[in-house]
Amino acid sequence: MRDTTAARRTTAAVWTGGVTAVLAGMPLLARDRLPDRLATHWGLSGEAPDGSMPLWAASLVPALIWLVTAAAVTVPLMRAGPAARPWPTVTLLPMGIVLTGAQAAVVRANLDRADWHEARQPTAWVVAILVAAVLSGVAGWLLVTRLRATPDDATAPDGGAPALDIPKGRRMVWFSRTANPWLQLLAAAIGLVAVGALVALVGGLAEPGGLWALFAGCAAGSLACAVFSSVQARVSERGLEVSFGPLGWPGRRWAPGDIDTARMEVRRPSQVGGWGYRLSGLGTTVMLRAGECLVIRPRGRRSDFAVSIDDAERGAALLNALRTNRTGG
């Protein structure tokens, strides 16, 4: 396990460094044959360029974009553990190819021109780059998921799942709820902005165009924050029911027979990519705060559903007990 992690990190570092060097180096190496300013942007309509950069900027800007993206993708995932692994490959491989291809196309288009206005749009290059990017993305995804498939199934957490003893003739139910006051506060604050924008719109105080966008964005943001600021879960003979937000809507439900295993896991927002309803290498996570999460593996699925909730251990134990009672007799 350690070896492959080290190998992955080395590969990521070499790929990042290599692409940076190529991006920054290409214009500099060819500077004797390039004009002072390079044509770097072409419009959709014409052959002639409509944007240019000095040589040093054309060399540094793509390299900087690349470094920032690479850092943004790899740093959070380094902390996320092995399950979230496909994403660096799937994003960084096509991204590196697109940037390198674009830089090569820019240099090629400007090569041996006296002035950047003479550079012609490299249409064939653009098409080739896009095709290569899509292919590499698919290849990266297949490669990573194939590599992952074997060890992942072996480590599927089945043994050691907690189970509760339900005495004969007893009916047991488990309730829990968790709220994140910061998200509630955020929802209220964004909601206030939305209301302010609406009042200004109705009162005709400001230009409608931008304000409608502000209102729509803030209203949607406030709603999303409010829905994922609190969560209620209950486990009963009907299975696991999870509902979000102060209204208990939307919600999700699994019957005991639809669940393979249930367990408790400690997860952090940095592992799943933030707060709210997250899809990541760990499956679906409804993340309100760092800490205990109730994690279930629905029957016939290869990914988990997790919700951050207090007292998750006992909820999982009761769920497992209900599940085995159901299947056992």
């Binding site: 003739g169 007893r170 009916r171 047991m172 139910v173 488990w174 309730f175 829990s176 709820r177 209620q232 209950r234 009963s236 003979e237 009907r238 029911e241 007292d311 006992r314 009761l318």
Partner: protein, 115 residues
């Protein structure tokens, strides 16, 4: 919070639900200020009528164990835990007395006669 009901219990359902909640409070399953599941949630999970759940919750409010707050739902009252334990013990006393053939008034008289 874990609630448990005895399916073979012959007492009225609302008393059983109230008993389960009382035990949960006495055992510290929910601390003062914690929100309880709503009557609808309780009735859904336990597969009982909403009114039965509501009756149980109201009974516990009258004992001073719960507070009904507008907009915040049902919460556990301040200092509910010792009160809950006392309520449970009073009920156990009555059960024990009934088993030995004493009526409720006998027990009340017995308590009155205590110094």
């Amino acid at each position: 919070m874990l609630l448990s009901l005895d399916k073979t219990d012959t007492r009225p359902l609302h008393e059983q639900v109230a008993g389960a909640l009382r035990r949960a409070i006495a055992e510290g399953e929910c601390a003062p200020g914690d929100r309880l599941p709503s009557a609808r949630d309780l009735s859904d999970a336990l597969d009982i009528n909403v009114n039965t759940a509501l009756r149980a919750l109201r009974g516990l409010r009258d004992e001073g164990l719960l507070e009904f707050r507008r907009g915040r739902g049902v919460t556990v009252a301040e200092g509910a835990r010792p009160h809950s334990e006392l309520q449970i013990r009073a009920r156990e006393l009555l059960d024990e007395a009934a088993r030995l053939g004493y009526s409720r008034t006998d027990v009340i008289d017995m308590i009155r006669g205590l110094p």
